[in-house]
């Protein structure tokens, strides 16, 4: 009885993959738990084990094929029954069989245990030890070991990469100076930003927003009777809301650059830069376009506090489809931020200031906030970016639109 085996999701986020390597060929026998095929996903290469025993009748996909989860990839004969695999009496069969005893007698390398393992970060103790010694974070290192395990050589490669790009350290001691070793976070930020600035063709757009209405609106909301101090809305909360709505309106900006294409998200997860004692962190506000101002405000306060306390879990600051960075509170008027890869854009918000504006032919005083958009030119063209920036300005200048 022939059975068709379909490509399962080898990791929780996997939706498709590329066939990287077949461990077996047509005519080979395979037992439960034996490696069958390697599947390359956006992140890594995953090894798929055979869920049944049998003899391979045909491979339905070949190396290089892109396959969606659920597609049949191989057809097995004799699968499902207890029949032992057909054995070639001359050749290397004994070795395979020997594994089978192990499997049948006392060693069920069961698929579900394997599946549990898929979910966890795979890193060897030796690699972990090296990471510890170097003060490095594991993020960004792609494992090359079995099942995507990060092994020592992956860490070494990463180290070599960083080393080759950094200035040769000065060995002599400089009188009157102290060397503060990089923290893990610093090293991580450095690697990411350097990578981004080198690889992403940035371009920048500036725009000034007149936010007198927004300021008045905020003041009125904050002065409502019964409002507690911790419920006060900040300007930043409005900026977040505005950006979120703009991204909802123009989802083409809400995405990730990947080699194969641009990945767009249905909901808006926004990374918001927060300064912490260790450096910049970007906690994620999830599904922010569907949240009200109050909710945004509360969540943001909470995330920022936990970020400063160093309590964030990795999943709370990794990911997101777009980033917001606000340095207005330091008086900075405007700045040009570096994109947080693989995102395709980041919005920089400067300090609000009372300044003269030309209205018609008259000079008036207005509250002006300068915003800068950095975008990845590989993904976004100038006009599109301009339209996006204009959308943001509209929300900021007409705050009631934000409530719709």
């Amino acid at each position: 009885m022939a059975t068709e085996i379909k490509l399962p999701a080898l990791s929780p986020s996997m939706t498709d993959g590329t066939v990287a390597h077949w461990h077996k060929q047509a005519g080979d026998s395979v037992v439960i738990g034996e490696p069958l095929v390697d599947i390359e996903t956006a992140k890594t290469v995953l090894e798929m084990e055979s869920p049944v025993s049998g003899t391979i009748e045909a491979l339905l996909v070949t190396v290089g094929d892109e396959v969606n989860v659920g597609t049949g990839i191989v057809r097995l004969a004799g699968a499902g029954d207890e029949a032992r695999p057909a054995i070639d009496t001359e050749g290397a069969a004994p070795a395979k069989m020997a594994e089978k005893t192990v499997a049948t007698e006392s060693r069920p390398r069961s698929a579900d245990i394997k599946a549990q393992n898929e979910q966890r970060l795979r890193i060897s103790p030796r690699a972990r030890k090296l990471l510890r010694a170097e003060g490095m974070a594991v993020d960004g290192i792609v494992g090359s070991g079995p099942g995507g395990r990060i092994v020592e050589r992956d860490v070494q490669q990463q180290l070599a990469k960083s080393a080759s790009k950094s200035v040769v350290p000065v060995e002599v001691e400089l009188p009157g100076s102290t060397l503060v070793p990089h923290t893990r976070t610093r090293r991580y930020i450095a690697d990411r930003l350097q990578q981004a600035k080198q690889h992403i063709p940035h371009f920048y757009l500036y725009i000034d927003c007149e936010v007198d209405d927004l300021v008045a609106f905020r003041a009125r909301l904050n002065s409502e009777p019964g409002r507690l101090p911790e419920q006060r809305l900040s300007l930043n909360d409005f900026v977040i809301r505005a950006l979120a709505l703009a991204l909802r309106d123009m989802p083409e900006l809400n995405g990730l650059w990947e080699e194969a294409g641009i990945r767009h998200f249905e909901c808006v997860d926004l990374a918001v830069a927060v300064a912490t004692p260790d450096g910049l962190l970007t906690p994620i506000l999830k599904n922010v376009a569907r949240k009200g101002l109050m909710e945004i405000s509360r969540e943001m306060r909470e995330l920022a506090a936990r970020a400063r306390a160093g309590e964030l879990q990795p999943e709370e600051y990794a990911g997101g489809g777009f980033t917001l960075s606000n340095l207005g509170m330091y008086g900075v008027r405007s700045f040009s931020p570096i994109i947080n890869p693989p995102q395709i854009g980041i919005l920089a918000v400067g300090a609000m200031a009372r300044q003269p504006v030309v209205r018609g032919d008259a000079l008036e005083i207005a509250s002006v906030m300068s915003v800068t958009l950095s975008v990845d030119h590989r993904a976004v063209d100038g006009a599109e970016a301009a339209r996006f920036l204009a959308t943001i300005r509209r929300y900021l200048e007409e705050p009631r639109a934000m409530l719709l």
């Binding site: 695999p85 054995i87 009496t89 069969a93 004994p94 069989m97 020997a98 049948t104 007698e105």
Partner: protein
């Protein structure tokens, strides 16, 4: 209990079958067709004499020189050769030397290669018959090399104290591999040890098939009647070395071997049959030709048989 001329001719046929088989097996082993053949040429009268009068439900447990028992109790010639070749078409499918195969339907108990360890096992089979209330008798074969092992002592003592239906049957061929009996066995007599267990015993000429038959029948009758074990020692001699695996002859002299060859159990019976007028030389020669054909066919069968598939090695570790 007395044997008719017809019985005697049957005995002759069985003796000769073993001999012709042995000759062929020895030839094939020396030619490198298979490793390690433990021949028992010259000892044919014992298996034939013992097994001829047994019921199929009686148990026999044999040693590494037990070919004769297999043939006499009806294991096909071809299967035994296939076993020597370690081919699939034998009862162990090539996992274990053929002489330790099990054939419950022929009353052949699962054996073991360990010298002497079979004695407690056979005792257990007799114990089972007692527990189950069956009338079956067990014959426990062992060689002179076994009698100095603790298993012998413990097994025989247990059979004796429980009066089990078993016959302890020693095939004394005077050499345990290279070691002569007098150097290994204090007191110089195996049968003298029977007293130490309180067992009746008989010393039998192992090259006289009729004497072996009669002694066995007496012992089996005693066992079946609930009178307990009997200890039988048969004196005989193997004409061949311990085994064909890089074997070395020593200490045995040519004269000693010649003197025993002169006592060939087959020639002895042949002479007896002819002199008593039970059979003509031509009739017996015809039997011989028939047997030789049977043996040749058996070899052919084994040569043509396949080896077991490798995965067979992984089966049956557990039931």
């Amino acid at each position: 209990m007395s044997l008719s001329p017809q019985d005697l001719k049957q005995l002759f046929r069985r003796l000769l079958l073993i001999r012709r088989f042995e000759e062929e097996a020895f030839r094939l082993a020396v030619a490198g067709k298979f490793s390690n053949y433990h021949g028992g040429m010259g000892q044919e009268a014992i298996p034939v004499g013992v097994c001829y009068g047994l019921k199929p439900t009686d148990n026999t447990m044999i040693t590494h020189r037990g070919l004769g028992v297999l043939l006499t109790r009806g294991v096909p010639v071809g299967e035994i050769f296939a076993g020597l070749y370690a081919k699939e078409s034998c009862p162990t499918r090539g996992r274990h030397p053929i002489f330790h195969m099990a054939a419950p339907e022929l009353g052949i108990l699962a054996g073991t290669t360990m010298v002497g360890s079979v004695i407690p096992l056979a005792t257990g089979a007799a114990l089972a018959a007692r527990i189950q209330g069956k009338p079956d008798v067990t014959i426990s074969f062992f060689g002179d090399g076994s009698v100095n092992r603790g298993d012998f002592h413990e097994g025989v003592n247990l059979g004796a104290v429980r009066k089990l239906p078993i016959v302890y049957f020693c095939e004394n061929n005077f050499y345990a591999k290279s070691m002569p009996l007098e150097a290994s066995t204090a007191g110089g007599s195996i049968i003298a040890r029977a007293q130490g267990y309180g067992l009746p015993s008989e010393l039998v000429d192992g090259n006289d098939v009729v004497a072996v038959y009669e002694a066995t029948q007496r012992a089996v009758a005693r066992a079946r009647a609930g009178e307990g074990p009997t200890f039988i020692e048969c004196l005989t001699y193997r004409w061949t070395p311990h085994s064909t695996a890089g074997d070395r002859e020593f200490s045995r002299t040519a004269e000693e071997l010649a003197s025993w060859k002169a006592k060939c159990p087959i020639l002895r019976l042949r002479k007896q049959l002819i002199e008593a007028g039970h059979a003509s030389a031509e009739e017996l020669d015809a039997v011989d030709i028939d047997i030789q054909r049977e043996v040749a066919e058996g070899v052919e069968f084994a040569e043509a048989a396949p080896y077991a598939a490798p995965e067979v090695a992984l089966e049956n570790v557990y039931v």
